[in-house]
Amino acid sequence: MSDRVVQTAPSGAVRGNASSAKRQPVLEIRNLNVDYGLGDMAVHAVRDVNLTLHRGEVLGLAGESGSGKSTLAYGLLRLLAPPGVVSGGEVIYHPEQGEPYDVLALSDRELRNFRWAETAIVFQGAMNSLNPVHKISTQLNDVLAAHEPKMSAHTRKARCREMLRLVGISADRMDAYPHQLSGGMRQRVMIGMALILQPQVVIMDEPTTALDVVMQRQILGQLIDLRERLGFSVIFITHDLSLLVEFSNTIAIMYGGRIVEEAPASALYRDPLHPYSAGLLGSFPALRGARRELTGIPGSPPDLKGMPTGCSFHPRCPKVFDPCAGNIPVLGRPDTPDGSTRSVACWLHPVKEPIG
């Protein structure tokens, strides 16, 4: 099973490119803005983010700590704790059947129905999200009982059993308590729980951060497997760009609350256009190829309260030039040969056609 990651990931990425003509969007984020606080005190954590998740694809979201990755994911589901507010934008969701609708315009009741059934989330450190005094079967059952009350108890039980098998836990572990499972198994239970209502979109917020690499590989392999079988789309948030390169179709790089580059994984890895993406890629070693010296990115992430003017990366950018300090670059199609499949927000690559 461990080989599967390596095998499926590149092919998946290639297929994503080949079939790009008939890619269907499932989640479209348009100029999403998220603030912490109100009025003058507000900190703009996510600014004018435009992003499209296509059906059946994995969208990787990478960036430094504090770049707004998690805020973006929680903001689009309206899961932020006070004082977080969504200060603008639209999140258009395309259900399998029926008209697309704006998630941000849903009433509280509609939102409750929407969550989990249409879009599920696996939280950071999810393995501590299980209640230690209930069996995992009870906790899986709870979801079904809440969202599909008409389902019979027998069917529910069969469904839980099937879900556990799908994530690679034998069904006789149904009646185990969370402390009787290992960290990786708990994480897989959480992933199974997120998938149990067969949502179209699964948001994973650093689901493997607390696990060792062996377990990471196992879980990601399983995730890819499940995605092919069940056909959901994934937004995968992580610091670990090398991981994304391996198994996502598209990678979006965030910096200072904005998307600075979005490209097919292979294109981003081979030829990053934004200096920040290049810096991120230059800070971990490649598996193959000539040995190269690792370069970090000098400086530290910007303070969201006092953002630099213009491009927020310009004080750290090795290729900074005239327009950078005064003008915010727009995210759009660059003038490179593969420009129609990717977008970047950088003055080095003048944009013909802004997206969003």
Binding site: M41, D48, L80, P83, V85, P315, L331
Partner: protein, 360 residues
């Protein structure tokens, strides 16, 4: 191992951590001196308590009649002459209420102070020092816990037959045990925390650890036990007066209720006799509880609400911020920042575009 290449100094020589924008002259952080009062709960509580204290001081002077003076108007409902009506002896109830405020406040606050000091001393000492101290002091507070306080107060108060201060001291000396137990438990959990261990390892003196590391963490509990004791003391004193123990010479609200009950005010439908006194007690309790909530939020940064919590959403409703339903202030897809496809610099200007050579 050294990581020379990623060091800032080497990548951009001489520029150090230039990534941060020029440290803006910090907008002088307004010292929020009246932050406690700015809290709506605390402000309301303090205002009501202030009124009570004011009337406790000036009550006897502003009272329109002598509370003992009898008149011809027996058991009259509220009127212009007697705002809160009269008793069966024609005494003015408003005057009785105003004159009675002082006794209630003195007993309540004095008993609260005595009990709180005792509970802090006993509780924190037992919790922090442990060992024999803990055994002895815990046993002592357990003994005081099982003594039926009210009966003890009745016995002592009727024997001593003193004034308000005696009653206050008796209540104070019997009501500290519950607070001491809570403080001891909290101190026990605090003394094993890392920051306390660290200060012990640094060689801080025991008194300093208690005063500067432990006590600030106990403020909320101390405040709540103070407020709780004050409420208990007030009700105890009123109960004493109601059942006819305590000084007969001074008025307090329990005395009013005692007469109202013995003259069957309820069956006479003389509501003005007992409702104002009852409300006065209830509002005092409310004020103290509000102050307690205010203190909780003030001393615990985690409970502190971040200013405004009600926002107007895009649908026009005003909602309270809560987790899980993040308010949407604006639902339009219009961008908020001015990102442009072309830079706003003069292409004919003298500044040539200088791209630094990319060092791949």
């Amino acid at each position: 191992m050294t990581i020379p290449t990623s060091s800032v100094e080497q990548v951009i020589p001489g520029q150090g951590a230039m990534a941060q924008p020029e440290a803006r002259t910090p907008v002088k952080a307004k010292r929020r001196r009246f932050r406690f009062v700015a809290n709506a709960k605390a402000a309301t509580g303090l205002t009501i308590l202030g009124l009570y204290i004011l009337f406790a001081i000036i009550g006897p002077w502003v009272a329109p009649y002598d509370p003992d003076a009898q008149s011809e108007e027996l058991t009259q409902p509220p009127s212009a002459a007697h705002w809160l009506g009269t008793t069966h002896l024609g005494q003015d109830l408003l005057s009785q209420l105003l004159v009675g405020a002082r006794g209630v406040m003195v007993v309540g606050l004095a008993a609260g102070v005595v009990a709180t000091i005792l509970s802090v001393v006993v509780g924190v000492t037992a919790g922090y020092l442990g060992g024999v101290w803990d055994d002895v002091l815990s046993a002592l507070s357990n003994v005081f816990l099982v003594i039926p306080a009210l009966i003890l107060i009745i016995i002592v108060a009727s024997t001593l037959n003193g004034g308000d201060i005696v009653v206050a001291l008796v209540i104070g000396f019997t009501a500290w045990a519950w607070g001491a137990r809570v403080l001891r438990a909290q101190t026990l959990s605090l003394r094993r925390r890392d920051f306390v261990e660290a200060s012990r390892a640094n060689g801080e003196k025991t008194w300093r650890i208690i005063m500067f590391e432990i006590l600030p963490n106990l403020t909320a509990i101390i405040a709540s036990s103070f407020v709780g004791t004050v409420i208990f003391a007030v009700t105890s004193e009123i109960t004493l007066a109601f059942i006819g123990i305590g000084s007969v010479s001074t008025w307090n609200w329990g005395e009013i209720l005692f007469w109202a009950q013995s003259q069957q005010a309820l069956s006479q439908k003389a509501w003005w006799w007992f409702v104002p006194a009852g409300l006065a007690i209830a509002f005092l309790g409310t004020a103290l509880s509000l102050i307690n909530f205010g203190i909780d939020e003030f001393v615990s940064p985690r409970l502190r609400s971040a200013g405004k919590t009600k926002v107007k959403t895009s649908t026009g409703h005003t909602v309270r911020m809560r987790v899980g339903f993040t308010p949407v202030l604006d639902n339009s897809a219009a961008p908020h920042t001015h990102a442009t496809p072309t830079p706003l610099i003069n292409p004919n200007g003298a500044t040539p575009v200088t791209r630094r050579e990319a060092a791949r």
